[in-house]
């Protein structure tokens, strides 16, 4: 029954999915943290930028963003992100699109975490003579991260599933393979089940693991 699967590189496709997810996760965590720092910071221009970014990007469908990176950035503006073959250009563009999109959600998850940190923590830090970056980096964000592990886990799970949108610009990840398989084989249900199972294998342990981490690092007050 599963014989036809041997004709396809299922593991390879899921490996691409994992690479998309991991690179985008790291990138969004960094860019999302910077956005959150801007949104809580004292500089009006940065606050405005952070707020506008999040509210705009959150409300654009991911497919539009991913298509824009390919059609707009690459084909119109010639951005290739340092790659020269078609395959790696599209892979990098997909990662960029996923980062641009996911970081808005990371920012909001972190901001909700920042709101759980009592103002007294930042005041005590300021009273010691720490500057804004130190107050944020040494006192507020470490506590905010710990209390946003749960929300961040949800963002990561959504990101893992969102990597399927990269199929729209031809990145050979799991969803693109699924489309190809369905076109070639008369096994719609089986193929869907196999792909769905693959995603559950990625997301379920991620959720359980981060749930455990969240409990372990929770700040006791």
């Amino acid at each position: 029954m599963f014989d036809f699967l041997e004709d396809y590189d299922l593991l390879g496709a899921f490996w691409t999915t994992v690479q998309l997810a991991v690179l985008s996760a790291v990138g969004s965590l960094i860019w999302g943290t910077l956005l959150a720092a801007m949104r809580v910071g004292p500089v009006p221009l940065m606050r405005g930028f952070g707020t506008a970014y999040v509210n705009i990007v959150r409300n654009i469908p991911l497919t539009v963003i991913i298509l824009f990176t390919s059609l707009g950035l690459n084909q119109t503006l010639g951005v290739s992100l340092g790659a020269d073959d078609f395959e790696s250009i599209n892979f990098r563009l997909a990662v960029l699109g996923l980062i641009l999109y996911t970081s808005a959600f990371v920012c909001e998850a972190l901001r909700s975490g920042i709101n759980t940190v009592p103002v007294g923590q930042a005041e005590a830090a300021r009273a010691l003579g720490l500057n804004f970056n130190q107050v944020l980096g040494l006192v507020v964000l470490p506590q905010a991260f710990r209390s946003s592990v749960g929300p961040l886990a949800n963002v990561l799970i959504a990101l893992i599933k969102n990597t399927t949108v990269a199929a729209a610009i031809g990145v050979a990840e799991a969803a693109l393979l699924m489309k190809e398989m369905i076109e070639n084989e008369a096994q719609l249900l089986l193929i869907s089940a196999v792909i769905a199972f693959g995603f559950v294998v990625l997301t379920l342990p991620t959720g359980l693991f981060l749930g455990w981490v969240g409990k372990k690092v929770a700040v006791k007050r």
Binding site: P118, G120, Q121, E123, A124, A125, R126, A127, L128, G129, L130, N131, Q134, L138, V139, P142, Q143, R146, V219, K220, R221
Partner: protein, 258 residues
């Protein structure tokens, strides 16, 4: 009494440490600080007392600019409070602050709480900072708790750690905003004793508190505030046994009767 006043003239000669001149501050329509003039000499211990909402916390917080002021001036050791940036951070390091709710960094151990400012602000190396931290924790009687997290300590222990954290910066003056108000009664004394020792060691202190025992035994002066104004200033003995203003009489009769 004569001893105190002689001492005061002496310190006045060596310079006033904290000087507030016609300080005004509003929260919206509320005029929380009204023409505050207050001078604190080096080594002096001043207790600020007054009804809830009279502006005591706000006064404390303006002195290290956790709150900005609308008009007037505040100088510390002859230098006006910087508006912002590096200079303000440096000034804050010279002014220790102890909060009612302790505000120990919840994600850091007791030892890390006391070393953080030394390493990041005073740029001491880690080993030196830890040595000083352990000595200070020993001085406030919580050396055994150094590796624990704040949530594992009693309120009294947390507040003593908070005092050690402030002292680690070698501040010129210490501000205490109702340091014992959040504590269970049996823990109040362990904190007051640490403060009393600090006063005896010559630290300049501004203490918002209703602990009359502390005021009588450690303070050089009591400042009574009501409705954003300084209504009366006197030595503790004069103030508690013979208050001049009606507001103070009224206030004292309330806190003495429970």
């Amino acid at each position: 009494m004569t001893e105190v006043s002689v001492a005061k003239e002496d310190v006045a000669a060596t310079g006033d440490l904290v000087v507030l001149k016609s300080v005004n501050k509003h929260f919206g329509a509320l005029h929380v600080l009204q023409d505050i003039d207050l001078t604190i000499a080096r080594g002096e211990v001043v207790v600020v007392i007054g009804p809830s909402g009279s502006g005591k916390s706000t006064l404390c917080r303006t002195i290290n600019r956790l709150e900005t002021i609308d008009s007037g001036s505040i100088t510390i050791d002859g230098k006006p409070l910087p508006e912002e940036g590096k200079a303000l951070a440096r000034l804050r390091a010279d002014v220790g602050m102890v909060f009612q709710s302790f505000n120990l960094f919840a994600h850091k151990t007791v030892l890390e709480n006391v070393t953080l400012g030394q390493v990041k602000v005073r740029k001491k190396d880690k080993k030196e900072a830890e040595e000083r931290a352990r000595a200070l924790l020993d001085r406030v009687g919580v050396a055994a708790q150094a590796e624990k997290y704040p949530a594992q300590l009693s309120g009294g222990q947390q507040q003593r750690v908070a005092i050690a954290r402030a002292l680690a910066m070698e501040p010129k003056v210490m501000l205490f905003d109702e340091p014992t108000s959040a504590l269970d009664p049996e823990m109040i004394n362990e904190v007051l004793e640490v403060m009393q020792q600090l006063a005896r060691d010559g630290m300049t202190m501004i203490v918002v508190t209703h602990e009359m025992g502390f005021a009588r035994s450690a303070a050089n002066r009591v400042v009574f505030m009501a409705d954003g104004r300084i209504v009366e200033q006197a030595t503790p003995d004069q103030f508690f046994s013979n208050p001049r203003s009606d507001r103070a009489k009224d206030f004292l009769s309330k806190i003495l009767h429970h």
